[in-house]
Amino acid sequence: MSDIQQYLLDYDRNKTEASATAQKSATRLTDGELRLLKLIEELGEYFNSEDGAVRVKAMSYLAEVLAFVPQKVLSLQQRNLLCDFILSRTEDGDGVGSCAKGLIALEERGKWDHERVQTIMETLLANTAPLRQYKQQSERYPALRLVDILMASYRDALKALHEATPDFLPRFIAYFDGEKDPRNLMMVFSILKVPMTEWSIGADAQDLFDAVFNYFPITFRPPPDDPYGITAQDLKDRLRECIASAPEFAPYAFPALLDKLDSTSMNTKRDVLQAITASVTQYGPRTISLYSITLWDSLKFEILNVQDEDLAEEALNGLAAIATTLSKGTSGPLHAYLRPIIKECNEHFEDAPTKQSQAAARILHGIAGVSSEVINIVFAAVLPNLLTLYQTADTMAKRRGLLEVFVQLIRANVEVYGDWRTVGTAGEQSANNALIQFRDQALQVLLSGLETAPINGVSFRLVCLDGLLQLSSARGLLTDEDVGKIIQLLHTIVIHEESFGKDEIKEAAINGLVDIAHQKPQVVVDKAFPAFMAQLPDTDADESKGYLTVLEAFAKLANEEQVFDTVILRLKNKFTSAVTQNASSAYIVALLSAMLYALTKGATRLEQSPESTTYYQDIVVPLFKRTSSTDSSHPKTFDDETTLDLVGRICNIIVRSQSAEHQHAIAQEVYTLLSGTSTSDTPPFKASAPPESDKTMIVSTHILASLRKEARLPCEIELLVSQLAEYAQQPQLSAPIRSASLRQLSLVINKFYSASALKTCLNPLINAPFEIFNAEKLDPPRIRIIFAALKGILLRSSPVLATLYPHLLSFLSHPKYGTTVAHGFSTLLQPDDLLTKQNHCQISGLHRQKSFALLVPNITQAFREATPNNKSNYLIALSGVLKWMPFDIVMEEVDHLVLPLLQSLDLKGEDLVKEAAISTLISTLEEKPQVIEEHAGSIISRLLANSIRNKEAGAPPRVRAAALKCLMLVPEKLKLESVLPYRRQVCKNLTAALDDPKREVRYAAVKCRSRWLEVDEVGDDDE
């Protein structure tokens, strides 16, 4: 059997085998076993067959063989012959796809000359037009691909053909008529784009335009399992490029597009607006000058009467694009375009503040930001009118509306001309800024507006303030003196103005100062700093608290990098003089707080310069000495634990970014704090120290936290751990000191043990005499130590947890302290502000998963087996673990957790447990509601019970509000049929919650109840 016979046999049965046969023929052809002539001869019989299907298959065979033949096997003569032959076959009504494939294969094997390309094109048009006569997409597609290849590689040949043959283009356009398949359309659009952009299309412009615009708007929706991956957006993008490709289209495109803008479909309108913007950008200033006003007349409605925010945005883009394009041409058309816009906007401003005056401001802002030329025209025409209207306005509301417009314009101005730190889009030409002419008037209006408006005109003053900030940032606009005036007004507001409402103005004024400090740091330092400092007394003998607001504002200035150093320095000096003059504790605490706040804001700055020890010398060293000394340099307030905590935190921020070497030295002073005594005389090493010296432990904790893990501890680590364990058990310690010692334990274990030593780090505590896991010796101080130690270990995900956790879990059934242990579980994963990456702690990314896997399944298991008395302990422990667990970890196990969680809602007096359980239930409802579906009745009744105030054992307000929030999610997330039966019961019972004594609960109840009332209504719609 010859290859062709084999191929024909396989063609309908098995495409792969058929291809294999074609490949075989190709190989034989290459090896010279089969001559081309012979092959064609063999085919002859089939090409002349009566049966069209056979002819198609024969052509397909030839095309496949050609595609398999390697390069250079066929001579030029052979290729030409084949080409002519295949072309002649296109006369046959069938098999155009295979012919095209064959030609494509030939083209790949050798370039064609111009003449041949033109012949092929003409023959295709003559024999196969219109393409839509072929029903199969797979037939048309290769033909389109062939044309696309011709367009891509032989552009000149086709262009020459077009220029030589007057009727070529119409026939070419008609060739693609009626194409519907998205894959083919993508091809058609890209083919047609070539003549659109590169050929002179003259009289055919309309036909060419219609050929693509017929498809507008694209409403194609890909099938669900679309194998080709063509989206509607792909088609839209290509179509839009076509529409925008030739300015000759303008007379057809704009009327057609504007006509479609009246459509009721949002999608169509969006496509129209995007097409307009693209066209306006491409067609060039000359064409656009003819249509600019028509476009304005239509586009403005989308902004003045906003239907949809994003349509308004697109329309604004369109208007701005027109301005951009016209800016590239002569100034006449640009003026002609802007004139009606300015006129109409000016009219809208007359009755500000309305929806339309706001829209007009948006329009001007959008257009003015385009170029320096446009903004200067707009300013010259709008600002005088705006200022006149402002002067004659009779109400505050109107003045505010006008100023809002003004501020938008200044903002556009900053975009174009830049601010003090960066050049704007127009480049460095701030001297040409039209705003300069209005500078003094603007400044005066805004300053006096902010200064003289009554204190309750919050929104008006906010607008003035915003305007002043914009003015002050405009590049090269105001003198330093003028900026100084603004600063002065702002700090006067911050310092002297009486408080009103939510203090929005004061807050905005402070933030404004920070913004100005970003632009003009030196002016702020010169003007505002002395004013602030003058308000901060050296001592507060008169006991007024006025300094607090000033301090807050001043500390906020540290947000700005350029004034950070100065802020810290001034605060430090204030602190020193306050201490020497015996200021009150409250004032010293406030100063320390301000310093801490400022340092927190500048922490990244400190990290950048680890070598600099200035802050250490200036701030940390004096603080250490004051803390540890016992003479007069020790301020009284340094005996207070909260103050020492602040001191510790300040030192922590500075020390933690110090270089490793410097930290070695600091590490030796962790407990002595530069007091000159030896470490063994300080707590936790000396048990019988005076109570004041115990307090230094708080500062030590923060220093310990700031050290890198390479730093050398002042003593052996085993000794330190056991000393800390002993020390923390002392009954006389105050809560903060005890907490500090326990956290030291966590820190030491977390940071300073090597991974291998970590496995045995607790042995000194587990072994006799300490025996920490001995159930008989268990008491609250020991429980605390267990949890503190575990906390250090679990963050490192050490394998030793697998042997430590079981001890802990076994304590949950401890007859006396089971409940205490259970409560401790919430401390394990509680975020801690000292055990952090910034403090050089070792935190494994998977530590939560690890603890979850080791704890939760065991707790739920033990819960099922526990005696009724102990059950609650397991629930408490469970909620403690879940409380801090991200829900994606919980999700896997949540099926097993729903029952214990629901039972936690029945506990009496364990409000934190209930709150945690409810929050896990909320996450479950949000992420995985299906596991709750079967418990609908039980969750609803329990949540109801917890949301209604009950005299005897009622839940506190927070739990009630949480339960209501959760209950609100139930109808949202569960199936209608699961919740519908409970609607009446819920709505009826919730009327009681509407009368809850706490506002927060009532608020949640209202939301919850209205959600449940809708349950029924949704049901109605479905019927």
Binding site: S499, K502, A555, L646, L994, R999
Partner: protein
Amino acid sequence: MDPNKDNANPTILNPSDLPSRRRESTVKRRNDGASGLFDDLIPRYNYLNDPFEQSELSSDSEDGEFEHIDEQEVYDLISSISDPEHPLSLGSLAVVNLPDIRIQPPTSPFSSISTVVVEITPTITHCSLATVIGLGVRVRLEQALPPRFRVDVRIKKGTHSTDEAVNKQLGDKERVAAALENATLMGVLRKMLSTCE
């Protein structure tokens, strides 16, 4: 201009000018004039949340103070309703205003029934949607207030050309009930109430 709207270009109030409760509570909470910037420097859970000492925690915010339902609360309930013809709230359009809300205490010591009177101000005097707005306010309050409140919604005197007629409609229980049976009307109301917080 959209001819279907009675008032296509209404005046809008800025959100910072609307009455809100936060204003009083901040002033009450801090008498030193500070804004609380430094309050969070030391995380609260460090020293306050010692889980081993449960007793003090549970009682932290037990129902000591009874926060009564007041005018501001009623305002908060209804000011976020959307206007049927603009995507704006009744509060920002000044259709509902705090001074126009009154809570009348029970008339006799034996009765527990209080009355909430809300007077609404249409944006223009011939607003055809005044009844719908009134109905929306009424439905919202009946859903959100406990049953011991009677709701009385009316158009503010002199702000509407047919205020008497509208008030009669809003006050008539039967007609209100009948209106709520109307599916189209309910659809409009649901849309208005969907923005309620």
